[in-house]
Symmetry: C2
Subunit: 414 residues, 2 copies
Amino acid sequence: MKNLVGACVFAQSGGPTSVINSSAAGVFMEALQQGNITEVYGAIHGIRGVLDENFYDIRKEDEKELELLKYTPSSALGSVRYKLKDFTVDKTDYERILEVFKKYNVRYFFYNGGNDSMDTCNKISKFMKNSGWDCNVIGVPKTIDNDLYGTDHCPGYASAAKYVATTMSELALDAKVYDTGMCCIVEAMGRNAGWITASAALSNINSHSVDLIYLPEVPFDMDKFVDDVKTVLEKNNNQCIVVVSEGIKFADGKYVGEFQTSTTDLFGHAQLGGVCGLLAGVIKQRIGIKTRAIEFSLMQRCGAHLASRVDVEEACQAGREAVKAAVSGDTDKMVVYERVEGDEYKINYKLMPLELAANTEKAFPIEWIINDGTGVSKEFIDYCLPLIQGDAKAPLENGLPRFAKLKKVRVEKK
Amino acid sequence: MKNLVGACVFAQSGGPTSVINSSAAGVFMEALQQGNITEVYGAIHGIRGVLDENFYDIRKEDEKELELLKYTPSSALGSVRYKLKDFTVDKTDYERILEVFKKYNVRYFFYNGGNDSMDTCNKISKFMKNSGWDCNVIGVPKTIDNDLYGTDHCPGYASAAKYVATTMSELALDAKVYDTGMCCIVEAMGRNAGWITASAALSNINSHSVDLIYLPEVPFDMDKFVDDVKTVLEKNNNQCIVVVSEGIKFADGKYVGEFQTSTTDLFGHAQLGGVCGLLAGVIKQRIGIKTRAIEFSLMQRCGAHLASRVDVEEACQAGREAVKAAVSGDTDKMVVYERVEGDEYKINYKLMPLELAANTEKAFPIEWIINDGTGVSKEFIDYCLPLIQGDAKAPLENGLPRFAKLKKVRVEKK
């Protein structure tokens, strides 16, 4: 437990979410209040910003804009997908990071991201320890996929879930407006974990919206799928609403999405499509019913106007907790949420060793998948529902969200 | 000007919007207060409900649920696409409608829809007049396409515009998060009119979000499009955000979307895709940059959580005005919005002869299209911005929208 005095660096990594900037706001606002933190740097495009000495000087930002960051989607500092090599194999990047940390007297390092990013954070933490440079390293979790190990849920997930559930309840009303029959197939994110797709089930709480849900945790069978749709159409006035994960796989492990031929348009260019388009084609041809394929695409991860207040506040607090922990001497940890047992939803913020978070994926519990692989259980609803409560969005200016406008003053290179 | 006493029928027609039910709420709440209106019937699935004598008894509904209709997307009574023949050609349907009107003593008929629906409404109105059955017929406008003649704008358009503008401002932040280059191509609705697509330009008011906008009013040239994107990529750090209308056409009048080959997947099923997927394929192949194709699909017309308060209130009032006009003896008209000149946005509700609305399409003004067919002018912004002001959405229950739950009590057939 060392009480360090020096600069802090915060960086964002991996795919954006509706609330990754809420964590940034938490880190920045807390760091600016801490006497031991002399400078507050935002690394531009994740760890690459550190390697290239590209930093924003957060002290130059207006407090009001940092507050607006809480409600601003995407990664305000820019993101990166860059995997550090193991330092027993190649130390180049690590030595460069150490050099930069020494040059700018970086004594606090906060990395905000998912599995891969926690791996990066873990490796840097270990290297700093080995090298003898005192720097407290804390990971701040983030992923809409909700697949980080060791935390009740992940910042960003709840807002994606709220987007999916809200939108499904609207889409279901729209898709059933004619009585001529229709199968609507919606595709949600989640390459390997079904958490986001499962949240579509929440839309059945206030009124029945979704009939069939397919997660990547259950092998996908095309014939069974067609039969499932047929059964719903028969009992449901020829209407069926399906939600599938982009990551559904056949029993042999191949992604259903890979089953698309690489087709070309009349110019000879490859055409792009999603799993939902493929499945809609199958249903149209085999059942002969009108279909509609809908991809939630980036909207589900950047729809900050639909962010969950619980998510926004927790993500911000997770950032604050990271700074507080580091300043009081903690290092080599990631902030996690621990749900308190009881009727009322409440979480405690805890710390977990970084190596536990690195590269471990938390799949959707198989025992929560019901109805022969086409639905999720009440246990999931009880788990997820508290997370999507409340609204928290940017104030309107001109009738549109007024997101944070950072000055983005560059730190002069030393 | 006859003061009629009898039942009223209200029906919804064509594609749903976020606020078509706001008009229903207005019609119902006003009709229930009018002493001359003895019964309030909701025709199920538009004019087909009249032909089949399928009505809901709106007097049986709770007032609270009718109020919630204001914030409930899609057509609560069900919709239909059914085009009546000209009655000089085939009177069958009209005579049946007259028979039903007489049987149920229908003295007021309100039809809520776009161009085609106003054509239906107009034909029914004329037939009733000719047949000598006193029935006051008033059309209530509705279309996200904003292409109805004679009204400053159409109920439903503003909420679609607000969806597009808000979502584009979020998407732009997400799409630019990596510095590796990307062209994001978003497809908005509007088969023949560019109004919805143009609203993407509003997202540039609070911060620059959209680079290129293509409307169906300008012939689309693929080579020019590729050049336009290249130019933006060069000056804009290899990032480009494009919004196209689903209805863009080549100079020969053929829809760009028709340019897709009918391709099949490995099962031999036809694959479905949109214009955005096709254009993304072209850009990927010709420029070699990462692309992302995004379709706003049904969300842009049913995203009631993002409805404009102006739109919700106006659509509801349009319904009330239709009833008031009919009760005071008006018939054969459609309610229109007339914008009052001056600095502050204000509209008056007026009536226009139905035949003027029937089947006339109001295209986006060519003189508002600038930047060599890739942008829209300040005149459009000034026109559209007042329409998207304010939020108005369903109350949250379980963190999700609590939409109207109608009892839908059927009227016994006579």
